[in-house]
Subunit: 369 residues, 2 copies
């Protein structure tokens, strides 16, 4: 019996399903292991809180040695700033409009705030938003390294940093996200190499404008293992490593024993032969996966959710395998953990032995803008 099944067995009478269950000891091991890895390679860790959105977990990351946190939007930054986090990087090409103008100003008053920019229009809008306080806002130039998502070409980083400085903002460095490293096990090293090349070019581009990139920030749980020995990278921004998930296990970025979160669900119907229905649908586990790999799996078995409706998960039963009865509670490990946490108010927190049981609030759930 694996850790997850042991933990579930111990808490099964005390949990209402569907519910996200966190194994606190596995989570702490994941935090400590990432921190030790970074220390060995002389890298700062600035974990991305989008994965957990939980103040308690953020505190554990900082206590473990993180230099600050990464957020995905203004709302997340606000929740963590209100909880006392005072070094926050919004790693996103912010466009300050509506209430965001005032909210970014307020955040910059109470915390050391960095925001991402990848274009001149946003630099102008941020400078306008900050007015005379532009010097309170640190900016990081986002460059693309192959994900073809956001980020300027690395050669353009210097121009953007200079434009920010001219407007009174404080350019402190460059960042990128090697998202193309998640496309398969072979892609991880290649994306990390792309990242190294782009960041090196970006740093040179800043130097050419006589701007020092004090911070050179890299992703990500799947690629971090290959981001060592860099001559430029100063920090890493992994997110998923706290929980891990099936996608990371498939990529080789974690083992199954390092997965710290599952969704507990109950068998509610079993009329269709060789299938049971769980109370885990898209509104609990999100539609992350595909018909080919399914939408979440029972650890240590071949059973995967093959289809999801909103409140129903379809679980085909492998031939000759177990056949859980109505009312049985089962653990489902998600393919991609980040979109799961936004579905719930609280984590049910236990450990591998199932002896402790707490709730941790998912504080920044929602807060999407």
């Amino acid at each position: 019996m694996n850790r997850i099944q042991r933990a579930l067995e111990a808490l099964v009478e005390r949990v209402d399903t569907p519910a996200p269950v966190v194994l606190a000891d596995v989570l702490q091991d994941n935090i400590d292991r990432m921190q030790a890895f970074a220390a060995r390679h002389n890298l700062d860790v600035r974990p991305h809180v989008k994965t957990h959105k939980c103040v308690e977990i953020g505190r554990r990351q900082v206590k473990g040695g993180a230099v600050g946190i990464t957020a995905g939007n203004v709302g997340e930054a606000e929740v963590f700033a209100a909880a006392g986090f005072h070094d926050i990087f919004i790693a996103y090409p912010i466009w300050p409009s509506g209430t965001k103008v005032a909210r970014i100003r307020r955040l910059a008053e109470t915390t050391r705030l960095r925001v991402g920019v990848d274009n001149a229009a946003a630099i102008g809008a941020l400078a306008d938003a900050m007015g005379a306080d532009a010097g309170r806002l640190e900016v990081m130039i986002e460059v693309d390294c192959g994900a073809r998502r956001s980020g300027a070409p690395a050669e353009a980083a210097g121009d953007l940093a200079l434009a920010a400085r001219h407007r009174g903002l404080v350019p402190v460095g460059v960042f990128t996200y090697p998202g193309h490293g998640s496309s398969g096990p072979d892609a991880r090293k290649r994306a990390a190499d792309d990242q190294e090349a782009a960041l090196t070019t970006a740093v040179r581009s800043l130097s050419a404008e006589r701007i020092t990139a004090e911070v050179v920030s890299a992703g990500s749980t799947p690629t971090v293992e290959f981001s060592t020995g860099s001559s430029v990278i100063t920090e890493i921004r992994p997110g998923e490593y706290v929980f891990n998930d099936l996608n990371n296990a498939r990529l080789g970025a974690c083992t199954e024993d390092q997965i710290a979160l599952f969704v507990a669900g109950t068998v509610v119907s079993d009329w269709v032969p060789d299938q049971v229905i769980l109370d885990i649908g898209t509104k609990a586990i999100s539609r992350e996966g595909s018909p080919e790999i399914g939408y979440g799996a029972i650890p240590g078995t071949a059973a995967v959710l093959s289809r999801l409706n909103e409140y129903h998960g379809f679980l085909p039963l492998p031939a000759g395998g177990f056949r859980p009865r109505i009312g049985t509670v089962l653990p489902i490990v998600p393919n991609h953990v980040c979109p799961v946490v936004v579905n719930f108010e609280d984590y049910i927190v236990t450990d591998s032995t199932g002896t402790s049981l707490q709730r941790w609030r998912i504080d920044a759930r929602g807060f999407l803008n």
Copy 2:
């Protein structure tokens, strides 16, 4: 310019993105049209609140003539009961464990409560949960009509109703969900025919046990148009019709002008040729769709979100078409609206002219068990 674009233009300065925007006049038209349809065919409407999870919208549905509401789980029922709704059907094969035992008892004290059952174990567990108050709990027998999800075979409905009666519960009828009617435009009528056949068999099965099916309850937005002229159906439980979405438009179950909800997003990056990035990712619009049809579309254009990350939506720009600048706010209509609403705290409510602007709370967001 269509309704959605006109409404967005009027409110663009006043909305923080990403945000779900509701056109109240289109919504009201949708409510009134469904009610008029049902009245013509002598059917009760018991709308499924999982689609909107919003007390204000539920009130409009009841004011429009709905006989009560349908919920997907105990938590949704609790939120609406607390807001004064007193006729609630949880159309789900409930398994009462953990706190659900006490919660179902409490609900049955304060509201007329019906719950779905499809198996003998759940009937026993519900009867145990209710104890001496079993007579306060109405049960509806769920039968399958081809979706192969939950629901007993229609022929087994009588046995289950009898088992419920023997345990002191009150069997009041049968229900089914013709989910296979969403697989394509041709599937709608076929699924409605399957539904009619299954419900007819189920009613006969109850009659054979001398139990009258007072309520014979059918789905669903895509199939409701074909559920007329039935000799058995007494009520319909559509959900999506209040908002509608691209999936329903593709199925022919609504027109594009009848879509009452879109997600407003801002262009935040535009470095990749023929593509812009919006601040609408999976955490805002959910991964509903496929690489083939995309994950949401700008109404009246060929532009669809082709990929989603958590906070990023990839919008390829059709050749020769418009090229929105950084900061432009665009409307994205979801493929499937129900999983979108759980991502946000409030709807931004306006109308086709954009003159009014309110917020309606998404009261039952979360409440997953």
